[in-house]
Symmetry: C2
Subunit: 354 residues, 2 copies
């Protein structure tokens, strides 16, 4: 199906930054995609316009009741100069699952993808080509009806903005140190933990801030028993114990990470067993004690794979793999980034070329 | 302390609505209050300006990570034509507690109150005088730094908007029917349930939408045991069982309602015993069965007191007090609204005159 997407080009293109200074999420491209929703009319008026501030009534529901969802995915300049997206269909499908949880009307996933492709076509020059860089894509929906009172909005705005990025963590692919949180809780079954919605992230800021120095990220435990491993800020967790890979099962309170899914597929493809199940922090501490905790790593679009060199749990420091990047973590990182840059075969057809 | 608050008056005042049609939260006055925050500079530039849309970068953190808090309070035109606020100090104190939980820098509560008074002075003509009406006041803070990446914002905007209102529920003071939620969960200890932040409300929309017909509100149970009573959408709950009043204790996952506090003080003042403790839904069902569940009501700024005529729990309908407003609920409602309108003595000094 062909969609008619209006394009208004900027008359004042910005200067592109030096790649060495792009960081993460601070620089945006010249254009953005917009799509409006109105009850009775549906989603309408898809358009690419110059990147610019948006104007909202101060009573817009997003400010008061947090009715909003988002996604995060990446586009790459491949080795042969083409542009490709990593599993974008998965992100728009997840966006619709988040929409459902937040009582936001579903989006036409194909229109969203068509909008994204059009936008990237217009801002193609902004995609960095250097190793470790990419174009981070942030689709999001906000409730705009200017009415106080807790009820779903009648109006929404869907947008996509683009940011050329380098490494998400200052550490890059170097191992990070993570504090296991025992006071604060991120999500609980029956809540919105498996939706990609703003409130989940706001809830985590305080724990991050209070984590002991040197631990920039926190590992969440479940909110009911306070002992099962959930996930990290914006990463799913994997552990290699005694040759086997384990990762928390999708239990309704963690995000269904697309990188997580990709890792499970790669590992299975390689013949490495992966278990998706409940994992208690005690099991991890015990595996550490008896020397069978071989590797730990987080997975997420922004960080790709982030080896965990140390877990801090109730005053104890569990150093993992001598604080170095494990072999399997490195292999997964190399393979995934290779697929994304087109230097490795793509056995699952994950890359979508523009 | 005197603050210097700039005032810019509108040159195009709006037509004021007929009181019979004001509803709740759809009409806003001619002006609003604004105050900016910047790391290193602090809160600055307090000002009253014409009510108008605000302009934000699409990357503003509030849209993505939900770093935002709000309050809700009311101003009244009293019987003698004066204007007074109900316990505004409590709201700004709670706002700062919410700020703390959401990693937002604290606000000068006196400046906020001075800003509110200045704003109300400018829009004094907007306060309706009819019985059952008031001026609803919505202070809120949003994170405005235009950077992706989960971390506290370096910039914030504090605003106050005003809306002349009538009854919050279509039912008015008539009893509402409430569905006891058994699938979805609003909050859990360690989370943000006791902060007044947007994400808590977004999380509840789906349950409200899926509640059986005729039940516009849901009563939340705790997220750990799924059996202790928490609160309703935007009200704290009270039950009268066998002559005693009980209300859930402040456990970290419910909001510390200011109306709740006021009811407890009034009841204690009258010599009616009030227990703040865990209350299971089974206890309520049992009290209903043995005929000792005399009254149930919700309390909140918007709804004041809302008698509950029926609870719907696992297919069973627990009709309370014959579905009619109970004697104690009515007395509390009459006393509180009397204090607010200045027709009843104000033994606790709750009303703040402008
Ligand atoms: C809470 C949370 N968990 C996990 C992830 C990883 O998901 P994905 O691999 O799809 O980026 C993210 C980031 O998107 C996240 O925000
Ligand atoms: C979740 C929640 N509970 C309870 C209340 C009642 O609090 P208050 O009496 O301060 O309005 C509110 C409304 O403010 C609320 O949003």
């Amino acid at each position: 199906m062909a969609y008619s997407i209006a394009i208004e080009r900027t008359s004042a293109p910005k200067t592109k930054p030096e790649v060495s200074r792009i960081g993460f999420g601070t620089i945006f491209t010249d254009h953005m995609f917009m799509l409006d929703y109105e009850t009775g009319k549906g989603w309408h008026s898809p358009r690419v316009v110059p990147y610019q501030p948006i104007t909202l009534d101060p009573a817009a529901k997003v400010f008061h009741y947090g009715q909003t969802v988002f996604e995060g995915l990446k586009a790459f300049k491949t080795a042969d100069g083409a542009i490709s997206l990593f599993r974008p269909d998965m992100n728009f499908r997840r966006l619709n699952r988040s929409n459902d949880r937040l009582s936001i009307p579903p989006l036409d996933e194909e229109l969203a993808l068509a909008g994204l492709k059009t936008l990237i076509g217009v801002d193609a020059d902004w995609i960095p080509a250097e190793e470790g860089t990419s174009l981070y894509i942030r689709p999001f929906i906000i409730a705009t009806q200017p009415t106080l009172g807790v009820a779903p909005s009648r109006n929404y705005l869907f947008m996509i903005i683009l940011s050329p990025v380098g490494a998400y963590y200052a550490e890059g692919i170097n191992p990070v140190k993570i504090h296991v949180e025992s006071d604060y809780v991120r999500a609980v079954p029956g809540g919105v933990g498996n939706a990609k919605t703003a409130g989940n992230y706001a809830a985590g800021l305080k724990a991050q801030e209070e984590a002991p120095q040197g631990y920039s990220q926190v590992l969440w435990l479940d909110g009911v028993h306070r002992k099962y491993i959930e996930e990290v800020g914006s990463m799913n967790m994997f552990f290699k114990i005694n040759g086997k890979v384990v990762t928390p099962a999708l239990n309704g309170s963690i995000l269904e990470g697309i990188t997580r899914d990709s890792m499970i597929r790669l590992l299975t493809h390689w013949g490495v067993p992966v278990e998706q199940r409940q994992i208690s922090i005690d099991e991890i501490a015990e595996a550490h004690r008896d020397g069978t905790l071989e590797e730990a790593f987080g997975t997420g679009t922004a960080a790709v794979i982030s080896p965990v060199g140390e877990l801090h749990w109730q005053g104890e420091k569990l150093v993992i793999g001598g604080g170095k990047t494990g072999e399997l973590s490195a292999r997964l990182y190399d393979t995934l980034t290779g697929i994304q840059r087109g230097t490795e075969p793509d056995p699952f057809g994950w890359m979508v070329r523009l």
